[in-house]
């Protein structure tokens, strides 16, 4: 069977399982928390409890800190490391490997299912949060901020894509990818806060440059100052290339590895 129709078939099979799972419920709650923050913010304003941040400023913190630096990479780790591992653990991989389809199409189909699921969870939450917070002080100036919304949606999609591809590769390479994945996210990616060329060695460095939101640094970051903002074209090019390289490597390794499922 041709590659893309096969990937589409695997996508159909994987998508239903991914969307209607407990895992997605947990992710929906975590990715939807900013909507709750936004509601609390508006309630506080309505109750004349003065918040310390403007609505759009808070939205920027949420995108830069909550989504891009924490939740999206975690969501990618949650789903992408499990693309193959779930099938191996559940011993259902055999059914997919005994179809007349190339192994790479299995991985690509499942990866697209992951991207679709996480986008369906994250994008609406971000849009809702934006409109709740950007209009907290009134609708004036909303029009000028909508391009930022589209920019942020693009960054969210790119973050899910590139982190997802990286963790798909990790999931295929390692039997236990969770701890190395967490160490990458919460140890290596901190290098993005260092001066000089160091942020270029991290994914966060490029994603951060693409958003316009610059939340104040805390802790050690105060000493180091604001990191360099990289050109958008460079960021897009590097991130897309990384995503393709990681995914390609994952598909190549997956197609050459044999899986012994425990009885």
């Amino acid at each position: 069977m041709a590659f893309w129709p096969a990937a589409r078939g695997v996508l159909g099979l994987a998508l239903e399982g991914m969307i209607w799972s407990r895992r997605s419920l947990v992710m929906a709650v975590l990715l939807g928390l900013p909507v709750l923050f936004a509601i609390v913010y508006r309630a506080a304003r309505a109750a004349s409890v003065p918040p310390q941040l403007g609505g759009f400023e808070l939205y920027g913190h949420i995108v830069a800190l909550y989504y891009v630096r924490n939740l999206l990479p975690l969501a990618a780790l949650f789903y992408a490391t499990a693309l193959v591992a779930d099938e191996v653990e559940g011993r259902t991989l055999t059914y997919l490997l005994t179809r007349p389809i190339r192994r790479g199409s299995i991985l690509v189909g499942k990866f697209v299912a992951y991207v679709a699921t996480t986008l369906c969870l994250a994008l609406p939450a971000d849009v809702l949060t934006f409109f709740l917070l950007a209009t907290a002080h009134g609708a004036s100036g909303l029009g000028s901020r909508v391009p930022d919304l589209f920019r942020d949606l693009g960054v969210i999609a790119l973050a899910l894509l590139v982190y997802g591809a990286l963790f798909t590769l990790l999931g295929v390479l390692l039997r236990r990818p969770v701890i190395p994945g967490l160490l990458f996210l919460f140890a290596w990616e901190l290098v993005a806060n260092l001066p000089g060329y160091m942020p270029r060695l991290t994914i966060t460095g490029y994603l951060r440059s693409l958003t316009r939101h610059r939340p104040p640094e805390e802790g050690l970051g105060v000493l180091l100052g604001q990191p360099e903002v990289l050109p958008a074209a460079l960021c897009l090019g590097v991130l897309i290339t990384l995503a393709l390289v990681f995914l390609g490597a994952a598909a190549w390794i997956f197609s050459r590895r044999d899986y012994v499922m425990e009885q």
């Binding site: 069977m1 129709p5 096969a6 078939g9 695997v10 159909g12 099979l13 239903e16 399982g17 209607w20 559940g90 011993r91 259902t92 055999t94 059914y95 997919l96 490997l97 005994t98 179809r99 007349p100 389809i101 190339r102 192994r103 044999d258 899986y259 012994v260 499922m261 009885q263």
Partner: protein, 313 residues
């Protein structure tokens, strides 16, 4: 099995194939061929049966040697799966799917159009008597139903080669019988069916062609009877039921090929051990009439005794 001249070409070929996991050799320099018809793959736990099947199914790459299915390498040839079906031993499913969804999803991946997927799914489910339960989630199926739906997915695309690992495990006697009959029918249709099982009498019911495997090596292959006949050093046992077994014994004991005699507890049976069964049978005619022999059989011309003897060697 070395195919005689004029016989159909072997479907599954192992040529000096070995497979190891670290320091453990699961399959050791195995050369074997499996052709059309039903072949039983037998061996104790840890013998290498699952490894053999997984190599044939292209799930594992041989560490050494070659494994070919329908003329193509089993590993790395996904097109082979148009004509190969595997029913693995693992009781594992996407439990959220119904029986019908399970089959149609997999048939879609085999390349069929939607309507054809549904038709084939229904046909396969009917073959294993699961048509009525096709709308129920597999998570709610009994063990026997789960085993049957697993068999159905292996049959649905009408493959030429079927690899069945413990196909009747968990089934009730009625469905076991049904599956045994189905396997025999598929063999008669010219399909290559390789059945791995511990349940020797069921394999015997399906076929007399066997591949015996132990400690990763082939012990014996071919017809059970032929294997038995080749076991020269192991005496054949013949059990005879007679009106007067002691009269029979008096005559039989004079034969130079008879090694021992044992009388049955109930007094009607005489069990003879002989090194030359054909000559023994030839000499039995008159003594059998005189002693009133009513029944005769050979208890060790079955798979279990052949198997036990070869494994214990």
């Amino acid at each position: 099995m070395t195919a005689p001249a004029g016989a159909p070409a072997p479907t599954v070929e192992f040529v000096r194939a070995s497979r190891w996991y670290g320091q453990i050799i699961a399959l050791n320099d195995v050369t074997a061929t499996v052709g059309p018809g039903v072949t039983g793959l037998l061996g104790p736990n840890g013998a290498g049966k699952s490894t053999f099947l997984k190599l044939a199914a292209g799930q594992l790459a041989p560490s050494q040697g070659e494994v070919r299915v329908l003329g193509r390498p089993a590993w790395g040839s996904p097109e082979v799966f148009h004509r190969l079906g595997l029913c693995s031993e693992a009781d594992a499913f996407w439990d959220r799917l119904t029986g019908e969804q399970f089959l149609t999803s997999l048939l879609r991946l085999t390349g069929y159009e939607e309507a054809e997927c549904r038709r084939r799914a229904d046909q396969a489910l009917a073959q294993v008597d699961l048509l009525e339960a096709r709308g129920r989630r597999i998570g709610g199926y009994s063990k026997g139903m789960r085993q049957r739906v697993k068999l159905a997915q292996a049959l649905a695309h009408d493959p030429d080669v079927l690899l069945l690992d413990e196909p009747v495990s968990g089934m009730d006697p009625v469905n076991r019988r049904r599956v045994v009959d189905l396997v025999k029918r598929l063999g008669r249709e010219g399909k290559t069916v390789l059945v791995s099982s511990h349940i020797l009498y069921e394999v015997e019911a399906m076929t007399r062609k066997v591949l015996l495997i132990h400690n990763g090596r082939i012990l014996a292959e071919g017809d059970v009877r032929e294997i038995r006949d080749l076991m020269d050093e192991h005496p054949h046992t013949v059990a005879l039921r007679a009106r007067d077994p002691r009269v029979l014994a008096r005559v039989v004991v004079t034969s130079p090929h008879v090694l021992s005699l044992t009388f049955g507890l109930e007094g009607e049976w005489l069990t003879v051990q002989t090194a030359r069964p054909d000559e023994f049978y030839a000499s039995l005619h008159d003594p059998a009439i005189e002693a009133g022999v009513t029944e005769m059989y050979s208890p060790d011309e079955n798979l279990e005794s052949v198997f036990r003897y070869l494994v214990a060697r």
